[in-house]
Symmetry: C2
Subunit: 88 residues, 2 copies
């Protein structure tokens, strides 16, 4: 699963940084943002979603949640993919 336009890979930065990045994307016209977390960052990706929900409330909708695993450096890592849509 490659990084796509409007996909935010949650990793080393603070939760707040990803939240700001995603809210900015939505404010600048993105209809949908995918929040991805891999391995030990899966929980952080959910933290990011919950904080966005706090801030935007009914302005967003969780369109889907996918989980699975993917290979990286010959290791298999779990991932989560949260698809968030803007609501008008």
């Amino acid at each position: 699963m490659d990084k796509k336009p409007n996909e935010v890979l949650v990793s080393m930065k603070n939760v707040e940084d990803y939240v700001l990045e995603i809210i900015t994307m939505l404010n600048q016209g993105a209809e949908e943002v995918e929040i991805k977390g891999v391995g030990r960052d899966i929980g952080k990706a959910v933290d990011v979603y919950n904080m966005i929900l706090d801030k935007l409330g009914n302005g967003i909708k969780l369109d889907s949640v996918s989980i699975g695993s993917e290979s990286r450096d010959k290791k298999r890592l779990s991932f989560i993919l949260l698809r968030v849509k803007k609501v008008y």
Copy 2:
């Protein structure tokens, strides 16, 4: 969200221990098992699901994935809830 029958809270034990516990529940007649992970154990809950999928393949179906947050000791923690059903 309180712990329900057939809900497995992923926490301190090894991934393999939870996998064995859940497969045993399914073998002993459980139609559905809920795998829950809270906070930093969210990723581990997804690891548990992926390992069960490896072992049981088409014998299970991921019925739903829920995410959210809940309060614990006055802190708010993210959670994931994976509902896995047996397929006959």
